[in-house]
């Protein structure tokens, strides 16, 4: 009781503040899109009240705060969806919808209050196929004295129900989270997937394989409907049931659109999520790794829906990353680099990171994860995600419910508070110190509302569409409660009244469909609908059991903006027959049944992909293998690795037989390899001279032949950032032919990490120069090394040779004076143009304004087809926690802050007008211990700006680097001055590391192929694995690699090169720490 009052007080306080704030805001804005209607008006007085006791609290039951469920559906067939709420500890409630947001509590009379000790999710579905919705309530049974079983309330068609779970075989007693109905075996009736959660210790990872040993309490259950009796077929169907399955999220969708519904299960903690593809024969194949490069770590609720209107279902999986700077910096975040490495490589788990994930469906190919790019990666302690076109503009929006009464991952609590209060009590006596629990900070926060743009981008609409009110909202259902055609929202809240949000959308049109089928699946669960409107398509599937522990109204809802007519609607029924409706009125609710029984066959595109993988790789059996060196162990605050820039690639005629051969320089402790071209392919050749160089880490190489192909030079630049016991790994060298022998000449220079080696022909005198574009000083990142020419070329007097952290360079006559000039790009710098004045290179300003980026690659290409050369630039992309803009550049401070002889770098990004360090106190103090003395508690550190943390004086002695764009894009040539134009969103999912120009289409016009992805970052950043490459024909004509037959996802490319074998072009892709790929180019 005490607690509730405290909550009320708190909430009142926050509400008052929010109210006064929003009042000010709403003076300048139209009314909210949603109004929260109070219980006093609706009559929905349900509260999910949680009472902590010494016997039962978050210490005894890990999911104590996960909340109850909510189901929305029309139980009396009066056209208005009714509401059912399950409560954890109290009685469940059923409310009849009387219209106009008036509800009548019929819980008691309907006989649906339930009897289980601890209820979780609830769903509505017509289990007995009588046309009336029944109610299924999931419970946790068998721990903490929780009694009862899952209950099935069969609708007596008179507003009363009879609990009949046993008769249906559904009186299961497991650690249930929620359930979903779908017809997985396509036999015309509804089957059920029961999602259970583990309570097993998560203190040690254990082998990933323990998921294969079924546990009856924690393992998920697939229940097949055999004539009204549900039979557990999990094992035979290939469903995992291990003791480590912390099942919290459940989404059903025909993800690969083969006509059979698939399953995505989100698992909490270290257990991987499961992606079950339906084999169509009653079994599933778990395929997560093949399709997902990484997932959310503490996976909670999820939702599948087509958010970019390409006709394929996308997926969001929620986690708990906070947006608020203060919460972010005082909460436990991601694993350390080494822990993640151990969990993935040794224990066999997949990559998981602590933030929301948005998986864009690449038409059945591996997903692109783009939550940060989409603006929805951090919504705090999140439970339910539901896509819906809330403003009915034709693009799906997103509602996220969140909040937790107490934040158990608060760092001060973990390290300081807890110990002194709890001490040994918990382990020894099981006594719980209530005061200790009270010391966890509150996680009562406002829900999130995002407006979708239809292309994967979302815009935060908090305080515009919904009022910011701090709540603990969990299970959520959507539907049209008042029959006005827009989607209303209902949330089940902990310790306060359920949230009923009335949607006030006006001046936008809709179409609402409900289905009435004659099969055992009367509501048409699994029906797919395409709405065609003015050349656009919208796609929906009817799987109402979605979000989090809930089911929504079983309808299909489309928003169509201002359109007043609909071109056509195609409905594909669960039995894979279809029909097209052409005369559906806007702003109507239409009930549809099957007619014609026309079988639906997928439009199989018979287009051949442009690229076809060659399995024998033409004999180029090269696999790059990185050494065990980790930059983060040496320079703990380095923003990304610099030791993973290899391998080096050079193509040219090494054995002087007139055919191009391939040189691949290895990582440290891996020797360089040469593949010589023979008639049928390439053959690995032994050059003992090269074997001696295995100590060196080769990152860049180039090739130039001269004297009619009788001589060549092959300079190799090294890197690796690893000094180790000798500097030999950083020694550049030059490979060439002398008197018929392959010679390796070591070059002695100050050890540096090379960025780019480029051979430049001296046009004047037939000679050559080699440009060494250097990137960084080993173990002193931020100290810019000198770049230089070897040979007659030189920089003009007065040029600072420390050009920047060079990553790439090209030679091109950008000023059309007949001399090949030099353009260099790198990190924390703007591209630099050097004009060639008879061998002397002078920097000249060619950009209308500097564009400082983390540039990785450059290629000249006339992308706008105006006849002059533009320059395509690969940057870091927009799908990362780095953040930069022209007005608020990302900053990097470089200095020996603590004056101990070792330099460090600190990244700071702007948020709401202030700069904050990207990393938290744990990370920063690992390098700068003085911060632990300065900030004794995390709460003292959290929310502080970089100036407040480091002190102005300390910052003032640092060198400051800046980046003002992270977008990849191109420099448009406007009559010899250039301006930067970013690429479209699809090319911003990951760093772009390499380009290649070629007539890939075989139409006489050259295109550029781009490749990327990058993994050399700490788990805080995740993995940039979602770029499948792109073929850039022109500014307006860009095709993503997954549509071209390229398999580049989840691998980090370094080089693209087109090679010729017997007059047939092949594409060679060289990856870091992986094997190379060869593709045949299938030109029409």
């Amino acid at each position: 009781m005490m607690k509730n009052r405290e909550y009320l007080r708190l909430i009142t306080k926050i509400s008052l503040v929010v109210l006064s704030l929003t009042f000010l805001v709403s003076c300048n804005n139209e009314d909210y899109l949603f109004d929260l209607i109070p219980a006093s008006k609706t009559g929905v007085d349900f509260q999910n009240n949680i009472t902590e006791s010494d016997q039962l609290n978050i210490l005894d039951y890990l999911y104590f705060y996960n909340g109850g469920g909510v189901a929305m559906g029309d139980i009396n067939n009066d056209g208005l969806p009714d509401l059912y709420f399950s409560a954890n500890q109290e009685r469940n409630k059923l409310y009849l919808n009387k219209g106009d947001f008036q509800f009548e509590d019929i819980s008691e009379s309907s006989g649906t209050e339930g009897m289980s000790t601890w209820n979780t999710g609830t769903i509505m579905a017509d289990f007995n196929n009588d046309g009336w919705l029944d109610i299924y309530v999931v419970s946790v049974v068998g721990i903490n004295d929780f009694k009862g079983h899952n209950e099935l309330f069969i609708n007596n068609q008179d507003n009363t129900f009879t609990e009949s779970a046993a008769a249906y075989g559904l009186d299961l007693q497991t650690y249930g989270t929620t359930a979903a109905v779908f017809d997985y075996d396509m036999d015309g009736d509804l089957d059920l997937y029961l999602l259970n959660h583990a309570v097993h210790t998560e203190e040690s990872f254990g082998r990933a394989q323990i998921r294969e040993e079924r546990n009856e309490k924690t393992g998920d259950r697939l229940m097949r409907n055999d004539n009204g009796r549900f039979v557990d077929v999990s094992e035979a169907a290939g469903i995992y049931g291990g003791i480590n399955g912390y099942g919290l999220g459940l989404a059903i969708s025909d993800f690969n659109k083969d006509g059979h519904p698939d399953i995505y299960v989100g698992n909490d903690f270290h257990e991987d999520d499961y992606y079950y593809l339906n084999n169509g024969d009653g079994t599933f194949t778990e395929s997560l790794r093949d399709y997902f490069g990484h997932t959310s770590r503490f996976s909670m609720g999820n939702d599948a829906a087509d958010i970019n209107n390409d006709g394929w279902p996308d997926l969001i999986s929620l986690d708990m990353s906070p947006e608020d700077e203060k919460v972010l910096k005082s909460s436990e975040g991601d694993d350390t680099y080494q822990t993640l490495k151990m969990r993935t490589e040794q224990y066999g788990y997949h990559y998981q990171f602590t933030r929301n994930m948005l998986f864009l469906n690449n038409q059945g190919k591996p997903y692109s994860e783009a939550a940060i790019l989409g603006g929805i990666s951090a919504t705090d302690w999140s439970w339910s995600a539901l896509f819906g076109d809330y403003d009915m503009d034709g693009a799906q929006d997103l509602f996220v419910s969140n909040g937790i009464p107490k934040r158990p991952n608060d760092l001060d609590f973990i390290r300081f508070v807890s110990s002194e209060e709890i001490r040994t009590k918990i382990n020894d006596t099981r006594l719980v110190d209530q005061t200790a629990l009270e010391m966890m900070p509150s996680g009562v926060v406002p829900n999130y509302m995002f407006k979708g743009s239809g292309d994967g981008a979302f815009e935060n609409k908090n305080n515009l569409w919904i009022k910011n009110i701090a709540t603990v909202s969990g299970a959520t259902a959507i539907g049209d409660l008042d029959g006005d055609g827009d989607l209303d929202i209902v949330t089940n809240n902990i310790n306060e009244s359920a949230g009923i949000y009335r949607n006030n959308t006006e001046n936008a049109n809709y179409l609402k469909l409900r289905f009435k089928l004659n099969s055992g699946n009367g509501h048409g669960i699994g029906t797919q609908v395409y709405l065609y409107q003015n050349g656009n398509v919208q796609f929906r599937e009817l799987y109402p059991c979605k979000g989090w522990q809930a089911s929504s109204e079983p309808i299909i809802h489309f928003g169509i903006g201002s359109a007043t007519s609909i071109d056509s609607v195609k409905i594909i029924w669960p039995n894979n027959t279809y029909q097209v409706e052409r005369n559906l009125e806007v702003n109507s609710t239409v009930s549809l049944s099957e007619k014609n029984n026309t079988p639906y066959s997928k439009e199989i595109k018979n287009e051949l992909p442009l690229f076809r993988k060659v399995s024998d790789k033409l004999g180029i059996t090269y696999r790059h293998k990185e050494d065990n060196h980790t930059d983060f162990n040496y320079q703990k605050l380095i923003p990304y690795e610099v030791s993973d820039r290899g391998p080096a690639l050079a193509v040219g005629d090494i054995d002087l037989d007139g055919k191009d051969d391939i040189f691949l320089g290895g990582a440290r402790n891996q020797k360089s390899e040469v593949f010589l071209q023979r008639d049928g392919g390439f053959v690995l050749s032994e050059y003992p001279e090269l074997a001696k160089d295995s100590i060196s880490e080769d990152v860049s190489a180039d090739f130039l032949s001269f004297r009619n192909g009788t001589q060549f030079v092959l300079p190799v630049g090294t890197g690796g950032n690893n000094i180790g016991n000798s500097l030999n790994s950083l020694k550049n060298r030059s490979i060439h032919i002398r008197k018929g022998e392959l010679i390796v000449d070591p070059k002695s220079k100050t050890p540096t990490n090379t960025g780019k080696v480029l051979v430049m022909k001296n046009e004047q005198n037939q000679g050559m120069s080699v440009f060494y574009g250097n990137h960084s000083t080993p173990l002193d990142y931020g100290n810019i090394p000198e770049s230089y020419f070897e040979g007659p070329y030189r920089f003009a007097t007065g040029t600072d040779n420390r050009l920047g952290m060079i990553t790439d360079a090209v030679t091109e006559d950008f000023d059309n004076d007949g001399q090949m000039d030099l353009i260099v790009v790198g990190e924390w710098m703007s591209p630099k143009f050097f004009k060639n004045n008879n061998g002397t290179f002078e920097e000249i300003e060619m950009l209308d304004q500097p564009v400082s980026g983390l540039w990785q690659s450059i290629i000249p290409f006339d992308i706008d087809k105006d006849g002059d050369l533009d320059y395509l630039l690969g940057n870091w992309g927009q799908n990362s926690k780095f953040k930069a803009s022209l007005n608020t550049p990302m900053r990097m401070y470089y200095a020996d802050f603590d004056e101990n002889g070792t330099t460090e770098t600190i990244i700071a990004i702007e948020k709401n007008g202030k700069y904050y360090p990207l990393l938290g106190l744990n990370e920063l103090s690992e390098q700068m211990v003085f911060l632990r003395k300065k900030f004794n508690a995390f709460k003292d550190f959290a929310g502080k700006s970089i100036e407040e943390i480091m002190g102005e004086e300390m910052l003032s002695k640092a060198t400051v680097f800046e980046v003002n764009t992270l977008s990849s894009g191109f420099l448009r040539n406007n009559d010899n001055s250039f301006n930067f134009v970013p690429f479209p969103k699809e090319l911003q999912t990951a760093p772009i590391m390499a380009f290649a120009e070629y007539d890939f289409n075989g139409n006489g016009t050259k295109s550029v192929l781009a490749a990327g992805n990058y993994f050399g970052v700490i788990p805080f950043h995740g993995r940039f694995d979602s770029f499948s490459g792109a073929l850039i024909n022109s500014e307006k004509d860009i095709t993503i690699g997954s549509k071209l037959g390229l398999d580049m996802e989840h691998k980090s490319a370094r080089h693209l090169k087109v090679i010729d074998l017997n007059n047939q072009p092949y594409l060679l892709i060289v990856y870091n720490n992986d094997e190379v790929q060869i593709y045949e180019i299938e030109r029409p």
């Binding site: 998560e202 254990g206 080494q338 040794q346 060196h629 980790t630 101990n900």
Partner: protein, 451 residues
């Protein structure tokens, strides 16, 4: 008037005017009592340091450093007023003579305590906690006899400054930014992070810290551990199985068994992380060094040591332990041996958990053994063999009192507790204890302290 006096007199650069006021004041307060400082005041300060260390969470090697330097500072002041002791300058590595007091009316005990608190405060994270403890003492002393307090405090701070300059060159600062330990995942014999927190290996460069007495970190390099082998007949495997079997056996006996009591009594893990779902917290205890500091206190009290003798005992034992950690950590990252928990989970029983949480650093040799060996040897030298005592050091952490017949008996028990705890093989315990005894004997042999 009072306020004015307080503010001005704290200023060490007294102006003539203030001097005049001071003189007037002194005349006016000629009844000032001398400030009494007892052995209990010293041990209470050491206890305060321990308490703050537990809050701040310092690893065992770092904790040993936070004990040693303040004691040395206090000792170097104390000896100026007691001809029975000899300075450690010239005896401890690179320690120069501290500035001599040129005023014989200084309260050297008070100055000792001030220096101890000041050096401690600098080494701890939560300075404010130490500062508020200090300020409460300062307040009392000031009230009792402000002139005695101030000149003694000033001298204490002067020596503290000297010690801080000395410790600043012990390479600690440099080791903070040295590389983290890189886990070798390919060699099955190598250490790897252990459940539940899978923390990185701590202090991989502790062997680079300047020792106080040892010639080098490797001076008492122990014999290598039994060769790694998973062959059932190998010595290594036998030791591995012994850990598993002992653990299974005593687990069967239950929590009340002597072995489990011993394991828990000597756990001395500063940070035991506990996870309950999304709820995480830590149970924090003192370090093994702190436990022996506690025993030193118990012994000093039982022997009715006065202030000076107490400082002597603390200084000698903490110096020995400081070097013990350097020596032990040198071997840990040399042999880089995998913990029993990793191997048992991988090869014998994947659900096995040790009775104690495995600490985050390589197995060989046992830190408890080296440290206990060194401390017990030194304490035996100070207090004599067969010095029995009741050890209530762990009482604040919910653990019982244990009685020991001698320091060596306690060290033996501390060492073997790691086998019971399931976190060390036998060799690490036996070899570690010998290594510690060698260090203790070297400290006894080299350091001329009590004349």
């Amino acid at each position: 008037m009072m306020k004015f006096r307080f503010m001005k007199l704290r200023d060490p650069k007294n102006t003539p005017l203030v001097g005049l006021i001071l003189a007037i004041f002194l005349v006016g307060c000629s009844t000032s009592e001398p400030i009494e400082i007892s052995a209990e005041d010293y041990t209470a300060t050491v206890d305060k340091v321990t308490e703050i260390m537990v809050h701040d969470i310092f690893s065992p090697p770092v904790a040993s450093r936070i004990y040693a330097y303040p004691n040395v500072a206090a000792y170097e002041i104390m000896i100026q007023n007691n001809a029975g002791y000899k300075s450690l300058s010239g005896q401890l590595n690179q320690l120069e003579p501290v500035p001599q007091a040129n005023d014989t009316t200084i309260n050297f005990r008070l100055a000792s305590l001030v220096a101890h608190m000041d050096v401690s405060r600098t080494l701890l994270f939560s300075e404010d906690r130490m500062a508020s403890y200090r300020d409460s003492l300062y307040g009392v002393w000031e009230k009792t006899n402000s002139s005695e307090f101030e000149k003694s405090r000033d001298y204490g701070l002067q020596v503290s400054e000297h010690i801080l300059q000395w410790l600043d060159k012990d390479f600690y600062k440099q080791t903070r930014t040295m590389p983290k330990f890189t886990v070798d995942t390919e060699d099955p014999s190598r250490w790897q992070p252990t459940p539940p927190a899978y923390m990185d290996g701590i202090e991989p460069h502790w062997n680079k810290i300047r020792p106080m007495v040892l010639d080098s970190a490797a001076q008492f390099k122990p014999a290598p551990p039994p060769a790694f082998s998973m062959e059932k007949e190998s010595d290594f495997y036998k030791e591995l199985i012994e850990v598993y079997e002992v653990s299974e056996e005593i687990t069967k006996k239950g929590d009340e068994s002597e072995e489990i009591e011993i394991a828990q009594f000597w756990d001395c893990n500063p940070y035991v992380s506990v996870t309950r779902g999304h709820l995480m917290f830590a149970t924090k205890k003192i370090t093994p060094g702190a436990h022996w500091i506690g025993i030193t206190k118990i012994a000093s009290k039982k022997a009715e040591y006065d202030f000076d003798e107490t400082i002597y005992a603390f200084t000698k034992s903490s110096v020995a332990m400081f070097d013990a950690f350097i020596s032990c950590w040198d071997e840990k990252y040399r042999s880089n041996l995998i913990r029993p928990e990793s191997l048992i989970n991988q090869n014998i029983d994947e659900n096995w958990e040790p009775i104690l949480q495995t600490p985050p650093f390589p197995e060989y040799v046992s830190g408890h053994s080296v440290v206990s060996g060194s401390a017990a040897t030194v304490l035996t030298d100070i207090f004599g063999d067969n010095f029995s005592f009741l050890d209530d050091t762990e009482l604040p952490y919910g653990l019982p009192v244990r009685s020991f017949s001698s320091f060596n008996a306690a060290a033996q028990e501390a060492a073997v507790s790691r086998l019971y705890g399931g976190i060390h093989y036998r060799a690490a315990i036996d070899e570690g204890l010998d290594q510690g005894i060698n260090i203790g004997n070297l400290v006894i042999e080299r350091l001329e302290m009590k004349l």
